[in-house]
C-alpha cells in the first residue's frame, strides 16, 4: 500500500474526533444552542443505555466463555479440517475462522500464538492477521447493539452475520493465496 495513503489515513484517524467535536460545537454556536445544557441532556441516556445492555451481554458472554473454556474448538477443528482442506484453507487458520466472530480477546491470542510459532511473514501468519484485521466480533456486536434497544427477536440478523463472516474469511483466504501463496 502506498505510504502516502497510509500516512494520510493515519492522520485522518487522529484528527477525526477533535475535528468532529470542533465542528459540532462551532455549528451549535452559530445556531445559538446552549451547548452545556444540551450536552447534559443527551449524556443522561449514557447510563441507561449501558445498563440496558447488561443482560444481553451477560447471556452472550456466558455462552461464549463456556465454549472457549470447554475445548470444543479443538473438536470442531478436527471435524471440519477435512472439509476446509478441500478449499485449501490451512488447518492452523481454522481456529481463527471459528473464534473470530465469537471472541475478540481469544482470536487476538490465537493470532499472537501463530505469529510466534509460524512467524509473522509466513503465509499462515499473513493469512491469520488478514483474517483478524478484516472482520469484527459479530456475536458480541449483535448482543450489544440489539441489547441497547431491547431487541430479542433478531430475525435474519444471525444468518446475515454468519454469511458475512464466511464470505469475509473466504475472501481473505483467496486474496492471500493470490498475492502471497501458491494457488
Amino acid at each position: 500500500m502506498d505510504v502516502v495513503v497510509k500516512n494520510s489515513i493515519t492522520i485522518l484517524s487522529i484528527i477525526a474526533i477533535p475535528l468532529v467535536i470542533a465542528l459540532f460545537i462551532l455549528w451549535a454556536l452559530v445556531k445559538r444552542v446552549h451547548v452545556y445544557e444540551v450536552f447534559v441532556e443527551g449524556a443522561k441516556e449514557g447510563f441507561t443505555t449501558a445498563v440496558r445492555i447488561i443482560p444481553y451481554l451477560v447471556a452472550m458472554l456466558f455462552a461464549i466463555g463456556m465454549f472457549r473454556a470447554s475445548g470444543a474448538m479443538d473438536i470442531f477443528v478436527m471435524v471440519l479440517s477435512p472439509l476446509t482442506n478441500l478449499i485449501g484453507m490451512p488447518a492452523e487458520a481454522l481456529p481463527m475462522v471459528l473464534m473470530r466472530p465469537l471472541s475478540g480477546s481469544a482470536s487476538l491470542g490465537l493470532m499472537s500464538e501463530i505469529m510466534k510459532t509460524h512467524g509473522p511473514d509466513s503465509f499462515i501468519g499473513v493469512l491469520v492477521s488478514t483474517m483478524y484485521g478484516s472482520s469484527e466480533t459479530t456475536f458480541y456486536v449483535l448482543a450489544v447493539y440489539f441489547g441497547a434497544v431491547n431487541i430479542r427477536k433478531t430475525r435474519h440478523a444471525v444468518p446475515v452475520g454468519i454469511i458475512a463472516d464466511v464470505c469475509g474469511m473466504l475472501g481473505a483466504l483467496i486474496i492471500c493465496k493470490v498475492l502471497f501463496g501458491i494457488l
Binding site: 443527551g42 449501558a50 434497544v149 458475512a164
Partner: protein
C-alpha cells in the same frame, strides 16, 4: 436463531467438557491415588518433624508414571513436609511455572493454587539426614474441564458487566455531543446530503432522519479504527432506528442492514493486527492492509446482499412494512 446458537454453544460446551473429564477418569490421566517415589535433598529441618528440601524428579520416572513423553530433563522442585515419627505425613510441592502437564493442571485446581498437596509416607533418611527417600500420593484431581467451564462462565459474566459499566462514560460523551449536533440541526443536514447514497441501503428511513447521520458517523469511526467512538455512535444509531420500529423488540430491516455493514468490519488500517505483527518482528507489518480491506469488503458486500435477500423471506417482514406504510 440466536436461541439455537446460544443453546448450541452452552450444550456443546457442557457435553465436550464432560467428555474430556470422562476420558481423564477412564484413562486415569492424573494417576489419582497412585504412589510417586522421590528423593529429597534436605535444606532445612526443624525438630518437630517438619522439613524443607528439594525433590528430584527424573524425566524417565515421570514419563513412565504418567505414560506420556512430556518431560525432557530432570526437575528439582522445592518441597515442604510434616511427618510423624513413623515417617508418614503431608507434603506441599511448590511447582515452578514451567512444570510439565498433568502436574500444571493439577496445581491449577489444587486447594493451594500453584502447589501440589498430598500424603507423604515411608520417609527414610539416609546419609546423616542430608537426603531422604519417600513416596508421595497426590490429592486426587477430578473433573477439571467441568470446573474450568464453570469458572469461565462466572468470569465472563462478570466481564460482561464490567464492559457495560465501562461504556457509561464514552456513551455519555458521544450521546451528549450527538445531542448538540441534533439540536443544532447538523444531523438532519448530514442526512439530507447523504440521501442519494442511503436511499438504496435504507429505503425505510425518512431521508432527513438523524439515524442516517449516526449510521454514517459509526461507519466512519469504524473505518478509522476509533472503537471508543464507534460503539456509542452505533448504539445511538440503533436507538434512532428503533424510534422508527413499529414493533418494539423485533429487529427491523434497516437495523439488520446496518449491523451487516457494522459486522463487516471494514477498517482502513487494522491497527491491532499491524501492532501484533510489528511486535513479532515482521519485516513488513503493514502488508496486510490491502488484503484486510479486500476481506472486509467481501464480508460487507455479502452481508448487505444477504440482508436484502433474506428480508424477503422473513416471517415478520410484511407486518413491519405495512405498519410503516400506514404511518
Amino acid at each position: 436463531m440466536l436461541n439455537y446458537i446460544w443453546t448450541f454453544l452452552v450444550l456443546v460446551s457442557l457435553v465436550v467438557a464432560i467428555g474430556y473429564d470422562l476420558y481423564d477418569e477412564v484413562f486415569d490421566t492424573y494417576r489419582n491415588g497412585k504412589e510417586f517415589s522421590v528423593t529429597i535433598s534436605l535444606t532445612d529441618q526443624s525438630s518437630s518433624g517438619r522439613f524443607r528440601g528439594i525433590a528430584h524428579v527424573t524425566a524417565e520416572y515421570y514419563n513412565a508414571h504418567y505414560g506420556k513423553n512430556v518431560l525432557a530433563h530432570n526437575m528439582d522442585i522445592p518441597i515442604q513436609c510434616t511427618v510423624d515419627s513413623v515417617g508418614n505425613g503431608t507434603f506441599q510441592l511448590f511447582l515452578p511455572e514451567q512444570a510439565p502437564q498433568p502436574w500444571l493442571t493439577m496445581a491449577k485446581y489444587s486447594p493451594v493454587k500453584g502447589s501440589l498437596l498430598g500424603v507423604i509416607s515411608r520417609v527414610r533418611f539416609v546419609g546423616t539426614h542430608r537426603e531422604a527417600h519417600a513416596v508421595l500420593c497426590f490429592e486426587p484431581t477430578h473433573f477439571v474441564k467441568m470446573r474450568s467451564v464453570t469458572q469461565a462462565a462466572i468470569d465472563f459474566v462478570v466481564t460482561a458487566v464490567e464492559i457495560a459499566l465501562g461504556l457509561i462514560g464514552v456513551m455519555a460523551l458521544w450521546l451528549g455531543l450527538m445531542k448538540i449536533a441534533e439540536v443544532a440541526g447538523l444531523l438532519t443536514f448530514i442526512a439530507k446530503i447523504l440521501k442519494p447514497l442511503t436511499r438504496k441501503l435504507f429505503p425505510d428511513i425518512p431521508s432527513d432522519h438523524p439515524a442516517i447521520a449516526a449510521i454514517l458517523m459509526n461507519t466512519a469511526a469504524n473505518m478509522l479504527g476509533l472503537s471508543n467512538a464507534a460503539t456509542p455512535l452505533g448504539l445511538k444509531a440503533m436507538e434512532e432506528l428503533n424510534k422508527l420500529n413499529p414493533q418494539q423488540g423485533i429487529a427491523t430491516n434497516a437495523m439488520i442492514t446496518f449491523l451487516a455493514i457494522n459486522t463487516g468490519g471494514l477498517v482502513l488500517i487494522p491497527a491491532t493486527a499491524i501492532a501484533v505483527r510489528a511486535a513479532a518482528g515482521s519485516s513488513n507489518p503493514g502488508i496486510i492492509i490491502g488484503t484486510s480491506i479486500i476481506g472486509a469488503l467481501c464480508a460487507t458486500i455479502a452481508g448487505v446482499t444477504a440482508s436484502k435477500v433474506l428480508q424477503r423471506f422473513s416471517r415478520y417482514n410484511n407486518e413491519i412494512t405495512n405498519n410503516e406504510k400506514e404511518k
